[in-house]
Symmetry: C2
């Protein structure tokens, strides 16, 4: 038997679990050139919510309602109609929230070598790659710079904080609530933190970044992005990675005050990026993460939720900011 989480309709406003439906089907038969995979882990990230938009916000990029919820997954090959894959191989693919999937062989990547398969959803999966290419290739941090990171306790953010430390930056993390801030400073290694729920962002930015911000890695947009523009140093860079402040609404929000005037007056650069645009660097990320894990220079912060049936709850939890680090579901 195969279980699939079907995303039945675009949510209006805040995501609730009732738009998902658990469908039970037979295990699919792999066709010619296809491989049958038993999923072991899949990814749960704010981006899952973003792609439920259709219409003005995402256009044709939106997910199709009525299909299994798209997600990165890692699993084991059960049977294969392609000579490149054999039963037992560990494979990673853009798959869906389901037990089994039959996919064309060219859509799968064979993976091995990591100390645990969780890493293929974590550091060596979408969140880890997003942090790696976004900070190192788009942001290009330099030792001694002040790096500001929003949603710092989340999947991408907690990796960016650590990568920033490896690059020699002073890292300031923004998160919601004193527990997350304490975790960021004590476990993840942030030099300072800002609790955005405590209010007075501008004053907190002045106190934690008295000389200004050189590099800002933003996962949220909204009021924090607006306040951070005023905290940027002349010539600073802003990496736009996510926009969680927008995801619960189909109506595009106004942009931050300060665009364009503050960017002009301070020679700022703002660069949006999609992780897949930098896919050529993923193998480099694998090598670096492997070394850093071995040397103990990076810690995997994985929040593993047991059971495929928990996937919709897990996503609601991620959007509500209740989990620390990278959230994944063990099937």
């Amino acid at each position: 038997m195969n279980r699939q989480w079907i995303y039945t309709a675009a949510p209006e406003g805040k995501l609730t679990t009732d738009i998902f439906e658990l469908r039970k089907t037979g295990v699919p038969e792999p066709g010619p050139g296809e491989v049958l995979v038993h999923n072991r882990y899949f990814n749960v990230m704010p981006g899952n919510r973003a792609y439920m938009h259709s219409g003005p916000l995402l256009g044709e990029l939106g997910s199709q309602a009525g299909t299994p919820m798209t997600s990165l997954a890692v699993g084991e090959v059960v049977s294969s109609n392609d000579p490149a894959f054999a039963p037992g191989d560990v494979v990673q693919a853009m798959s869906a929230w389901q037990d089994y999937v039959a996919m064309p062989a060219q859509s799968l990547a064979k993976r091995d070598g990591a100390p645990s398969v969780e890493h293929y959803i974590g550091l060596m999966g979408q969140s880890g790659y997003t942090a790696y290419v976004g900070l190192l290739h788009v942001g290009q941090p330099r030792a001694g710079e002040t790096l500001l990171v929003t949603a710092a306790a989340g999947g991408v953010g907690s990796a960016v904080v650590q990568l920033g430390k490896i690059a020699g930056c002073r890292v300031v993390g923004v998160a919601g609530g004193p527990e997350k801030c304490a975790w960021l400073e004590q476990e993840v290694g942030a030099d300072a933190t800002i609790d955005y729920k405590a209010g007075n962002l501008s004053e907190q930015l002045r106190q934690t970044c008295p000389e200004g911000v050189d590099l800002f890695f933003d996962n949220t947009g909204g009021p924090v992005l607006e306040a951070a523009l005023d905290a940027m140093k002349h010539g600073g860079r802003i990496v736009l990675c996510g926009n969680t402040a927008q995801y619960d609404s189909d109506k595009p929000m106004s942009g931050p005050k300060g665009v364009p005037l503050t960017l002009i007056l301070k020679d700022l650069t703002m660069k949006g990026f999609a992780c897949m645009t930098y896919a050529e660097h993923f193998s480099e990320a694998d090598r670096d993460y492997s070394s850093w894990l071995e040397e103990g220079r990076i810690k995997p912060f994985y929040h593993v939720i047991e059971g495929l049936e928990q996937a919709p709850n897990a996503l609601v939890g991620v959007l509500g900011g209740v989990n620390l680090g990278m959230t994944m579901v063990r099937v």
Copy 2:
């Protein structure tokens, strides 16, 4: 006798001439190491309005009320207490709207070689340098790209249109009204134009840029910037040069919808710049403009207004968009 236009107080809302006061003083005496200059031309540009802001918009960058209105000027040396300058030398400096000024020698640049001194306010002055470094060094246009330019009939814009053609781009200019659009196509060399006053910007962008915009040089901000984000190609670049839509208000406007989400989804880069940051390229701009003028590849579009007493009117006219090309006042 020396006449000076004093900017007496920050304007509220739309600029009117009554905030300026014509003050008459004696001709200043140059002190040790100073040079006395008789101004011949000075610059009138939307930036003059921008720097009248103080408080939240510009902070300490704003002009000081009660002082002569700051402006680029070109003039002749009358007397000099520095061996590097002699009476009759043509000099360019950040000066003010006034007949005479005594300045430290190191604040002056000696200029010669241009076919007319007007060029030191025009192409080889602030507007021309802004267009040159902004388009060529910040924007880095490539042959065959579609370049969109706002305020295309203005001082900076009309130079950017021509530089874009020299770089081999297809150039689409945005301006207000059919006369300006006709001028851009017939005189300046734009391949197509958009009259923003005719409404339906998105539809006009689709028609003039059916394959999207590679490079957008923006002088205005506001609704045109917002609409243009949707018209950008994947991987496109946006050069932020000016924000005329903001200049008549001290209250920072909301930014364009699409920041940050459209930038993320389309891998867009947005780069603000201040001309002086790229001062190392000004001599390269002088050489290129000289060659292009000689070869007839660029036309100087100068709107010369006669008489220092006309300066406040000239600025109101520039902000109202009534002049074509680069506006300057002949003293």
